[in-house]
Amino acid sequence: MLLYRSDEWYNTLSQEQLQKLISQNKAWIERLSAEGRVKPGRALERTGAIVSGINGRFVTDGPFAESKEAIGGYLVLDVETIEEAIAIAQSSPGLAYGGSIEVRPVAAECPLDVRARELARNEQFANV
């Protein structure tokens, strides 16, 4: 999965540069879809909410558009290795203007499960 980190780097671009980037991006996605290497991805609105606390009692406005941690959009890839995913991320037209892309393997099973099993195993060893 590719997560686009958005700190609104595109605000510094001129209308022409933006238009060019948008067409490049479109062509890039179309090529990857034609090659069967990407599933439909979406952009995220720059608004939203953050839910936290027991029973989700805190609901605050977020995320913070200018933050380096904010996610601007995502693409789910259909590739075999992280190297392939990195190569695709590197071919993203937006990188030329700044911005960054987080490349994350989708877990075959929930990491919580894996960790719970590890702990259970450690406890078992401790009891031997």
């Binding site: 238009q19 839910v51 996610i71």
Partner: protein, 124 residues
């Protein structure tokens, strides 16, 4: 879309508690899928890479134990942000410090729509 943030909360749990949260989380996702409110979702592996800048530099990341790191996501099919927030409030990880970011999926790229708005102003 729900983005589950934070993966430093796990450390403080016993294996029993972890198992309990995992089971609750899976059951929650299954129920949302059965109700056609969730259309996709995945946990993400804890390691990954960051690709950035003109030179397309690859670095290690995200940072395994961070409040900001994204641990997984659900793609929902609901009518409003309000509905999505109500679902986020059911997240079994919340009592342990997980934060759920709720984000409307854009009909089109926000950069493109901004550009269109500017073009409209320009022609008025």
């Amino acid at each position: 879309m729900l983005l589950f943030r934070g993966n430093d909360w796990l450390k403080s749990l016993s294996s029993e508690e972890k198992q309990k949260v995992t089971d609750q989380w899976m059951a929650w996702f299954r129920r949302l899928t059965d109700e056609s409110k969730a259309v996709a979702g995945n946990p993400l592996e804890r390691e990954g890479k960051i690709v950035s800048g003109k030179n397309r530099v690859v670095s290690d990341g995200p940072f395994a134990e961070s409040k900001e790191a994204i641990g997984g996501y659900f793609l929902l099919d609901v009518a409003s942000l309000h509905d999505a927030v109500a679902i986020a409030q059911e997240c079994p990880g919340l009592p342990y410090g997980v934060q759920v970011e709720v984000r409307p999926v854009a009909a089109e790229c926000p950069v493109a729509s901004e550009l269109k708005r500017e073009a409209e102003f320009a022609t008025v």
